[in-house]
């Protein structure tokens, strides 16, 4: 093994598998009452694909690839901004209105 460079696909696979485990365990702790905000925030998070779109849009000269990239940026930016904002709007509604009585109502 020493001196041999690991193929990036193996490193990627390692990251992928471990991230699935993290996701699995974290998502089970989400309270069912917040499952809709969970969906909208995961939506916003998956729009991190915008990173790939930005890279595609800006290699230098404008060509087919960079225009496709720019189109992807515009489309997915709707999620990036809209996804987090609508989540914020929903969570705002879950804010406590009256301070009395706590914890007993919500599980975990």
């Amino acid at each position: 093994m020493h001196g041999v460079v690991v193929d990036p696909i193996i490193t990627n696979l390692t990251v992928f598998v471990l991230a699935i485990f993290v996701g699995y365990h974290v998502v089970w702790t989400v309270t069912p009452a917040l499952h809709t905000p969970l969906m909208s925030v995961t939506n916003a998070i998956s729009s991190v694909i915008v990173v790939g779109a930005i890279l595609a849009s800006g290699p230098g000269p404008i060509n087919r690839g960079s225009l496709l990239g720019a189109l992807a940026v515009a489309l997915v930016a709707i999620n990036t901004f809209g996804g987090f904002m609508v989540t914020e709007r929903m969570l705002e509604m879950f804010k406590k209105k009256e301070p009395a009585r706590k914890e007993d109502g919500v599980k975990k």
């Binding site: 699935i20 993290v22 998956s46 790939g52 779109a53 890279l55 800006g58 930016a77 999620n79 879950f94």
Partner: protein, 466 residues
């Protein structure tokens, strides 16, 4: 910025995304979680812009998309959340496809050598295929959820089934795999034909797998597409050797998968039977016999009297309540009852709305304090010791037939409203629910029906409570 520095920033963004999800474990920490998510996204975007040669194109596109996103997020009604989420899934899917096309078109921009290596091609194929199916499938889901069935038949909320549907899907899937192989082994310059054909096929297949799924199963579909959009992002992350995309994509992918599982369990359906579709095709078939049996019905005044004299009341809201926009009236009713010393709680079935957790959001919007709102497993044992269960616009989720062997919904977990001392039910008419099954709860001796529009009825009850 060095490649190592970029990777470390991306690592930070990944951690922030995980914290964003973790925050949702409680309403009190949820907003902080969302801020973590925003922060992570900002890091990812800024770092990427910093290493890009040409930023004006990207910044312009970000501004356009951002404005559209802003307007949509501000304007959307809470009842429209399922459509919004479905629409957003489609955008992620389409973006994945466009990025894959950009890679095929100009691999050097991503640091990929000119004849794209085999491994990258396999990843591109997977990312495109999943992305395109997410795109077209989500559009169908959007149409179904937005009730556009009248405008366009493919959007019909009733399942669309035809003979040979599954064999056709199988053939298409095989053809897609063949084209995928064609793309992977294609000579430089000849990649486009198999790639575009495969994309087209994925588009059609995405439509075909969603149209046979009926309206009642939409919570599963929307969770499933959530999962797909995550896997598409992961797939693109693999092609670009970008760990941030891989991590974010797998978080979303597993989240959607878990939600699909929870929804399936809540309906006692196997994931496969949902995917194969056709459920709800016989909608309304079992109604006819119901009308003869006697039901006891009462007026809003009667209900107000019963509620006012109760000690504990559990309200069971269903989607019918949201359709009638009666949440605010219900909250007012609950407030009046609480002021009289009545204990009022809400019981939420996991599939009470059109997507996971939908009913909780609708109640939160009406400013119902979240500590009065309980999940099924937390409150079910309390129906037996409650004076009144007040069912508003819900049907199948309180159907006691689910406990009887041989009934079509046997095994589906229900809210045990029938165990309360008195059961009050508001419905528009005696029509059966999504599942098309009669509900014995309505004919029990202790049940009183109040017919009419939920909002009107509840407002009348509010007036009548003294």
């Amino acid at each position: 910025m060095s490649a190592n520095a970029i990777a470390l920033w991306y690592l930070l963004a990944s951690v922030l995304f995980i914290l964003a999800l973790k925050g949702l474990s409680h309403p009190l920490t949820a907003r902080r979680g969302n801020r973590f998510g925003i922060f992570g996204m900002a890091i990812a975007v800024v770092v990427t812009l910093a290493v890009t040669n040409r930023v004006e194109l990207a910044i312009g596109a970000l501004a356009i998309g951002g404005i559209v996103g802003y307007v949509v997020a501000k304007r959307v009604e809470m009842t429209q959340m399922p459509e919004l989420v479905a629409g957003m899934h489609s955008l992620v899917g389409l973006a994945a496809v466009l990025i894959a096309m950009a890679v095929v078109s100009n691999p050097a921009a991503f640091g990929i050598p000119a004849p794209i290596p085999t491994a990258n091609r396999v990843e591109l194929f997977l990312g495109t295929f999943v992305g395109m199916m997410t795109f077209s499938g989500s559009i169908i889901a959007f149409g179904k959820l937005a009730g556009l069935g009248k405008q366009f038949r493919l959007f019909s909320s009733a399942p669309i089934v035809f003979t040979g549907q599954q064999p056709l899907n199988l053939v298409m899937a095989l053809a897609m795999a063949a084209l995928g192989v064609g793309f992977v082994i294609a000579a430089p310059g000849a990649e486009w034909t198999p790639f575009l054909l495969m994309t087209l096929l994925a588009f059609v297949l995405g439509i075909l797998i969603i149209i046979p799924i009926g309206g009642a199963d939409m919570p599963v579909v929307i969770s499933m597409l959530n999962s797909y959009s995550g896997w598409a992002a992961s797939g693109i992350g693999f092609s670009l050797n970008n760990p941030l995309l891989i991590v974010a994509g797998s978080l979303v992918g597993s989240s959607g998968a878990i939600l699909s599982y929870i929804m399936c369990k809540a309906m006692n359906r196997s994931f496969f039977s949902v995917i194969l579709g056709g459920f709800g095709a016989a909608e309304g078939a079992a109604t006819g016999t119901a009308e003869q049996k006697a039901v006891r019905s009462g007026s809003p005044d009667d209900v107000a009297f019963l509620l006012g004299n109760a000690e504990s009341v559990i309200i069971v809201p269903g989607y019918g309540l949201a359709v009638a926009r009666a949440q605010h009236a219900v909250k007012e009713m609950a407030q009046k009852l609480i002021a009289k010393g009545v204990t009022v709680r809400y019981a939420i079935h996991p599939v009470a709305g059109r997507m996971p957790g939908h009913m909780n959001v609708l109640l939160a919007e009406a400013e119902v304090p979240y500590d009065q709102v309980f999940e099924m497993e937390d409150i079910n044992s309390d129906f037996g010791i409650s004076d009144i269960a007040f069912v508003l616009g819900a049907n199948d989720v309180v159907n006691p037939l689910a406990e009887e062997k041989g009934s079509p919904i046997y095994g589906m977990p229900i809210l045990e409203a029938h165990k309360a001392r008195t059961v009050l039910v508001n419905k528009r008419s005696m029509a059966s629910g999504y599942a098309g099954i009669d509900n014995p709860l309505f004919y029990m001796d202790k049940t009183m029906m109040v017919f009419g529009d939920a909002k009107k009825v509840v407002e009348d009850i509010v007036k009548a409570i003294e």
